[in-house]
């Protein structure tokens, strides 16, 4: 008999799925209530599970059925997983609250309940990716993730989103095809689908030297597959379209959470399927390191030349994903912890920027080009301040969350001598480039124009959910900036029970 808290991760997944399915039969407003209630419950349950894991200091294996490890499905969680689930459920809740007004405006009235259905099932799939201990379950939920995230992009009216969805879908299908064939080959040489058993067989194979090339090929296939889906640099082409054209809370969720789900799955496979020794001895971390640096610089350069606010923020996501891969590629524990801190920090910062971009579009007649947004921040000073905080955090000014990530990335690079020069140079260049596009954007937004002589703090008919969510996001940003060392400690402890 397990203690009550140990059941919570499983309850979270099933509850999100069940409420998602139920939303199909509800009216939009009721579906919204159900969706938000589900996320609140998820947040509370994940927090309790996190507290339990910290108290016990050990991971839990939860059987999905009556059969133990090599035979039945199972989920597994420790501090890291529950921490991520807690953070993600809070981000999801705040993103949906922040973009609520736009959902009812952007989505066709008869299909608004499907938006909440897709969000709930998307959240269920992200949770399953965080918790699962079975590769094939991971594949099924990757596909659910793809289908739901494509759906929330295309739910916005207009034909622009259809094209974005198609490009997104094509790249996602390529990625999941590579992932599935990787699983098939891995199953063929190990005979297992559950991660701990695969790791045992892989270690035995590595000791004898058998199947050396297929193993490297599988690592390569998984990395490319997850790289495509998380918009790693050369495979990022779909991201600006999809994230730039969706309704603002959908962009927020896609940028903040969906990309991260795949990265966590990749990290999980590195730790639990292959084991770190095999990963270090293969060249995959070098490749991820280089691609991460390329993403950091080229994503930012693309963002500089962008004239569309939402697309600029989307390109900034490409650069920020680069930081995560840089942290993974540095190849030590602190680097991995910094990468996971970046997962959380970016999840808390990017949705804030996307929702704020939506607030600016409100005061500029729904236009998202910079030339129409001049002075938008003066029409909605609150959003302006929130955007400034987000931008400063992205640039990496001390006190804000972005800085602590850069600090820990630099620190971890110092521990790994061969990579220290490149990492530090990349961090500096990327910081400068971030400033080059965020500061002009702020200047345009705060520019004094003819019709914005008078500064308005909050426009008429204030969007209360957006204001609440932004305040929480800003607080979270400062918490990550101030107490980063606490989170790093927690993540390192979590990584200890992750493998």
């Amino acid at each position: 008999m397990l203690s009550l808290e140990q059941n919570f991760p499983f309850v979270c997944i099933i509850l999100s799925m069940a409420t998602g399915i139920l939303c199909a039969a509800l009216k939009p407003k009721k579906a919204m209530v159900v969706c938000i209630a589900n996320l609140v419950i998820n947040f509370i349950l994940s927090l309790l599970a996190l507290r339990y894991c910290i108290k016990v200091g050990d991971f839990t294996v939860y059987w999905m059925g009556h059969f133990p490890a090599p035979f039945g499905n199972e989920i597994r969680f420790g501090i890291l997983e529950t921490l991520l689930a807690t953070g993600f459920s809070l981000v999801m809740l705040l993103s949906i609250l922040g973009g609520l007004k736009h959902v009812f405006h952007d989505v066709d009235e008869s299909k608004q309940n499907y938006y909440f259905l897709m969000q709930n099932l998307l959240f269920a799939s992200i949770l399953a990716l965080i918790y699962t201990n079975d590769l094939f379950t991971a594949y099924v939920f990757v596909e659910i993730n793809t289908l739901t995230s494509c759906s929330i992009v295309m739910l916005k009216k207009g034909r622009e989103t259809l094209v974005a969805t198609t490009r997104y879908l094509i790249m996602s299908l390529l990625g999941s095809g590579l992932f599935l064939i990787g699983i098939s080959i891995l199953y063929d040489i190990t005979g297992h689908l559950l991660m701990p058993q695969i790791k045992e067989s892989v270690e035995a194979l590595a000791a004898t030297g058998a199947y050396k090339f297929p193993l490297e090929m599988i690592i390569c296939l998984f990395s490319i597959g997850m790289g495509v889906k998380s918009a790693l640099y050369p495979f990022h082409s779909w991201l600006p379209d999809a994230h730039g054209s969706a309704t603002s809370s959908a962009s927020a969720v896609l940028s903040g959470l969906v990309l991260k789900g795949y990265i966590i799955l990749l990290i999980k496979m590195f730790y639990r399927v292959f084991g770190l020794e095999i990963i270090y001895s293969s060249r995959v971390l070098d490749i991820l390191f280089v691609l991460g640096i390329l993403a950091m610089t080229i994503g930012s350069i693309k963002a500089i030349s962008e004239r569309d606010l939402k697309r600029m923020i989307a390109y900034s996501s490409v650069a920020q994903i680069g930081y995560i891969y840089l942290g993974i590629g540095i190849g030590n524990e602190l680097g991995m912890a910094a990468a996971l801190l970046q997962v959380l920090v970016h999840a808390f910062t990017k949705p804030m920027l996307f929702n704020t971009a939506g607030a600016f579009m409100d005061v500029a007649d729904g236009k998202k080009k910079f030339k129409y947004l001049a002075g938008a921040a003066r029409k909605n000073m609150f959003a302006g301040i929130v955007f400034a905080i987000g931008a400063l955090s992205m640039i990496g000014i001390p006190l804000f969350a972005g800085f602590s990530v850069k600090y820990y990335l630099g620190l971890s690079a110092l521990e790994n001598a061969p990579r220290v020069v490149l990492s530090i140079i990349a961090l500096i260049i990327s910081t400068v480039l971030n400033a080059i596009y965020y500061i002009p954007a702020l200047m345009v937004l705060f520019r004094k124009t003819e019709d914005t002589e008078k500064v308005v703090f909050i426009p008429k008919n204030p969007d209360i959910p957006y204001i609440i969510s932004s305040i929480v996001f800003v607080i979270a940003n400062f918490v990550f900036g101030k107490f980063a060392s606490y989170f790093i400690d927690l993540i390192i402890k979590g990584l200890g029970m992750f493998a």
């Binding site: 035979f71 259905l117 040489i189 190990t190 090929m217």
Partner: protein, 299 residues
């Protein structure tokens, strides 16, 4: 509607003259609608993207060749085909086969595997179907008024003969047989080849045939959008709830109260039979839903 679909696949001109999908006409069509298409004629712009297209396709071909080559190289190392000593034939498959009947009381070992040992995957899989149906509804479902219905029906009468006696009598003969066969396959999923997915697809085919022969009106008498939603949601909810009970008891190692029955009987193997029925219903509804949405943008 069918005519339109066929035209659009192979680019033949349709009955409606404004909708000729040949390339030049398309440009003209856009030309009237939007000024931006004028710039499509701009040669400089076209050439620029053409050279990019060529570069892109060369790179992509090289990438595909590299992928095929390395995958083939991988295959040459893999365990050989049909060998009983392969690593995949280990304790897991041995347990599924040798103890499968004792554990799950299902004669069909694959059904026992997907609905008992690895039931979480199958729950996800049914959800994928449900999500796909919802996504297609989002894309294609049109809220038609009564007038539009009537106009469409008139339009369709031109192409399809609704009262074809051969089709109707043939369907009347075949549809019940197909339906019974589908139900048989679903109900015997745990003791013979088959199961929810295959049986559901067969049942869906029967309803589609009925719809083709007797028209939309007579189908919507027993299968409207409301009924579709109710059936599919209650089937999935039953699946989720009953399976969470079994996950919960399994993880906490409590004795499950679900009776297992005698292997080989219809009423046996615990939850597998009801789950097969649920999956069958979901698949049947989804198949008919896909057909009907693609055909007339409604259920």
């Amino acid at each position: 509607m069918f005519e339109g679909l066929i035209n659009f696949v192979d680019g033949v001109s349709s009955a409606d003259n404004t909708h000729k999908p040949s390339k030049k006409k398309v440009k003209k069509y856009h030309h009237h609608e939007k000024t931006i298409t004028e710039r499509l004629e701009d040669d400089v712009l076209n050439q620029k993207s053409d050279s990019f297209d060529k570069f892109y396709s060369v790179v992509a071909i090289i990438m595909a060749i590299i992928i095929i080559g390395s995958l083939l190289f991988t295959v040459s190392f893999l365990p050989s085909f049909g060998d009983p000593t392969n690593p995949a034939n280990n304790i897991v498959s041995e347990k599924y086969i040798v103890e499968g009947v004792k554990d799950t009381h299902a004669i069909n070992l694959v059904a026992g595997m997907i609905l008992d040992y690895r039931a979480f995957d199958t729950l996800g899989e049914s959800t994928v179907l449900f999500i796909a149906a919802s996504a297609v509804i989002i894309l294609l479902f049109a809220n038609k008024t009564k007038k539009e219905h009537e106009a469409e029906e008139k339009e369709e009468q031109k192409y399809e003969n609704k009262n074809d006696p051969i089709l109707r009598h043939g369907a009347l003969l075949i549809v019940p047989a197909i339906l019974v066969y589908g139900i048989y396959v679903v109900l015997n999923g745990h003791i013979s080849p088959g199961g929810g997915f295959s049986g559901g697809a067969i049942m869906g085919a029967a309803i589609i045939l009925y719809n083709l022969a007797f028209g939309d009106k007579s189908t919507s008498e027993f299968f409207s959008f409301k009924i579709y939603k109710r059936i599919i949601i209650s089937a999935l909810m039953f699946y989720a709830i009953s399976k969470s009970y079994s996950f919960y008891t399994g993880a906490n190692q409590i004795h499950s109260i679900i009776p297992k029955g005698v292997p080989g009987n219809i009423l046996s193997s615990g939850l597998i039979l009801p789950l097969n029925i649920c999956v069958g219903i979901v698949v049947c509804c989804t198949m008919f839903g896909f057909y009907s949405l693609f055909d007339r943008e409604e259920i």
